[in-house]
Assembly symmetry: C2
Homo-oligomer: 504 residues x 2
């Protein structure tokens, strides 16, 4: 049990959180006195370090009735207070029951955590000024996430992501019109330069170089269910290819002057013999998402941390532009499921042929995606969605994006896999997308859904569907040119070029 630093008290919702939810209005006598598996043990362990209480919406019971029931389950003894909506006359999402419990316990809201299973629970907690964690998958997971949220590189860097600099954006917008060209005639290159000014916080923005491409590699248990014709061994073989400099991303990185950094965050086999590969293996591939959760919340958190660490290490080493890349046989399946889960689009609309599959396999893949997405319905926490679907490299990429954003360095995203990672990053750190540049539009249908959902306009549209970071890396010289324009082009005044007459 990881301690929850900075948390004095933990308040629990009851129905759906500690015990199965009973239909509204169930008679007291009809309630089953049974908690979820492991709850008594969990509360006992927590009670050693934290003060505990319960806050629940019920129209038929008061504190005494609830305590009597909880007593039969062996958990009443751990709860210092039990507040019902009947006690205070108002139900959640109003924050009153929570605030009442905090007053009784004499604990400040920021030092108390509320644990619940519904959006109304979260609303009440946020209105009360309390941190909240959702029991999307299990109470243990929720507390694990809460513990991790207070530690680890990802959480630390997430707090450092700020909105782009509006003064730099305004200065760049104004400067674009003073350069020796008709206003707006450099089209998206002007928008890109202005975006870079906002990200870097200065105008003109520095030309973003050196450039580092991080290729996160991991395996996916779902390949056992037949979603791709490629054998899982190809993930490892391609890691070797990256290490030897023979893959597409190596070639394109050499073209644009970028370095390639290969990170094993979850490859099924050993990659430590390949030169230069950074082995930060969280686990040897995910479980099969078609049969259950792809990984634990702790694994998901650890993979996010790997990505955030790699990003910040690369920036600390001097890199000023980060490019997202990935390799993982089966990862278009997990990406499609994440995209459907985070955008609400149907599995059919976001699931493509990946590296190339026939109609029968595509239908099978879509069914697997639809099933996985349906299991995450109602989840309140993006980490829960991530751990249910996977994958490890997608989590790492989300961490990488957040790490780069925290460091004030633009991050160029690639295709459908890194798009799914960006959706995840945006769900975890709202606004982080404003510090990202979409490198290209992949032909995978989910990629366009991501771009549309996040309002991104990609630099390139070359019908690529390879991944590895190839499309993002190809966009690098154009991103750099956008910054260079603001730095090096002469203004009308400097060049003594006539502006067109006012009013035209």
């Amino acid at each position: 049990m990881i301690p929850l630093d900075g948390i004095d008290a933990i308040l629990f919702d009851i129905g759906g959180t500690l015990v199965p939810e009973a239909p509204p209005g169930t008679a007291v006598a009809a309630l089953e006195p049974a908690a979820f598996d492991g709850v008594p043990e969990l509360l006992r362990a927590l009670s050693a370090r934290h003060r505990l209480g319960a806050v629940t919406n019920t129209s038929v019971m008061r504190e005494g009735d609830v305590r009597a029931l909880l007593g039969q389950m062996g958990i009443d003894e751990f709860l210092e207070v039990v507040v019902t909506s009947t006690d205070v006359g108002v139900a959640k999402p109003a924050p009153e029951p929570l605030l009442h419990a905090l007053r009784v316990m004499q604990v400040d809201a920021p030092r108390a955590l509320y644990v619940g299973d519904l959006a109304t629970d979260r609303t009440a907690a946020l209105d009360a000024g309390m941190p909240f964690v959702a029991t999307d998958r299990s109470l243990g997971d929720a507390l694990e996430r809460a513990a991790h949220a207070q530690r680890g590189p990802f959480a630390r860097y997430a707090d450092q992501v700020t909105p782009p600099d509006t003064a730099a954006i305004a200065a760049a917008t104004e400067r674009q019109d003073r350069l020796t060209k008709p206003p707006g005639s450099l089209g998206q290159l002007e928008a890109l330069g202005t975006r870079l000014a906002g990200i870097s916080g200065v105008c003109p923005p520095p030309v973003p170089q050196p450039v580092a491409v991080a290729v996160f590699a991991a395996d996916h248990g779902v390949v056992a269910s037949g979603v791709t014709p490629w054998p899982q061994a190809v993930t490892t073989q391609m890691v070797a290819n990256f290490a030897n400099g023979g893959a597409a991303i190596n070639v394109i990185a050499r073209q644009v002057g970028a370095t390639v950094h290969v990170v094993d965050v979850g490859v099924a086999s050993d990659t430590s013999q390949f030169a230069g590969v950074r082995v930060h293996k969280v686990r040897a591939g995910t479980a099969d998402l078609s049969r259950g959760a792809a990984m634990s919340v702790a694994d998901a958190r650890a993979a996010l941390d790997v990505g955030a660490m790699v990003a910040t290490e690369l920036v600390d080493a001097g890199n000023r532009l980060l490019v997202t890349g990935e390799m993982g046989i089966g990862n278009t399946t997990a990406s499609a499921a994440l995209i459907a889960a985070f955008t609400g689009r149907a599995a059919m609309a976001v699931t493509g042929r990946g590296t190339g599959i026939d109609d029968v396999m595509l239908a099978h893949k879509q069914a697997i995606v639809a099933d996985a997405v349906s299991r995450t319905e109602g989840f309140l926490d993006p980490i829960s969605v991530l751990s249910e679907i996977g994958g490890l490299e997608i989590a790492a990429l989300a961490g990488f994006i957040v790490g780069g954003a925290a460091k004030g360095v633009p991050v160029v995203v690639d295709g459908v896999i890194t798009g799914a990672a960006l959706l995840l990053a945006e769900a975890l750190v709202p606004g982080v997308t404003d510090r990202v540049i979409a490198g290209h539009r992949s032909t995978e249908p989910g990629a366009s859904v991501v771009l549309e959902h996040l309002g991104l306009s990609p630099v390139l549209d070359l019908d690529l569907r390879l991944g590895e970071g190839t499309g993002a890396c190809l966009a690098v010289p154009i991103v750099q040119a956008a910054a260079r324009i603001l730095n090096e082009m002469a203004t009308f005044d400097e060049a003594a070029v006539s502006e067109r007459p006012a009013g035209e």
Copy 2:
């Protein structure tokens, strides 16, 4: 009078060529005995170096009738033979009348030139195996073109343009599928690499570098008619800006490692004081195309020669990728007219706002374009269209494209101006487009018309409308990456990566 080298005999069509066309079936007595201005003097001059004859379609006259009429105009004496369709029983486009005249004169077809004004004249000449020149604008122009066609860099390099190498294309297509990636997953990058193999004639194609951008600058008389709010002086001011390295094309060229070569092919004012500018001024800007021909055929030919020379000089200096650029206030008007003339599209559909004009000025510009295009209707020779419309930098760009193509070096075209130049080049040297790469899609409507007409897929689509070669130059790293992929990526065999099972 420039002599026509290698030509022993010149045969003339009569109606529409030497004398105004009479309606079919006009009675002999009703024919006006008047030649076009200058024709007697021209025939006299030509007769000093060449044997002359006439071949005409007429259903009412025989040789004697025609000679009697020509005698009244003072030109019968120069004509060794006069053949009418009535004489030989068949009219053009059948080649019989021409072949009959050649037999009488005992001259081989390749050493005799036919001069006419109709498509049927051209068909007859080509079927007879004779060179042909059209009197699109005047007889003098036609002979000037014919003389130039046998000399000058443009004509010489035009003869050297060959179709892309099919064996290299086949080898590249096959190699793309052996590289360590799903087949086709690099999308347009694969098509681009295969195209480069065809252009260079080897597989893998060399990575095309060093890169030279040629910026051809010239002025347009049509600015006097109010088609742009920018003063004409901006052309010269921008040439100075290019020389100082402060324009957008300089900045982007530095980004992609290209050198910029500025060529004054027709700027209105003196540019010789600007460092590094190559002054090959054919004339100080075109005449106003809204009031008549923009330039003479000789000027148009000279500008084509400038472009061809610059291209071949840059290749001889070691450059292996040529990029087209331009500057010329007013040149979107000439480009729109050329695009309409060569594609048959309406002026409305191809005329845009250029560097930014309002609705009233746009309507005025469209009317000017429509009028200029109408004046070229029925022209058989692209040079005639070019000299009617202009401009000097557009002609030079067409020469540049042909020069690069002749040297086996890929040429990247930019926006609407260079697109118009490419249409001109394709009209002059059919098939030259296969040695060209479209760098980007400009927002100018004519640019998309050109791409569609020539079946080109642009590398970039960034809403640019600046010109100078900016869009083409931005595409350079992607073009180079396409070649590099074929050179440097490992094959499945080399990298020991599993291919997906056959039949999948």
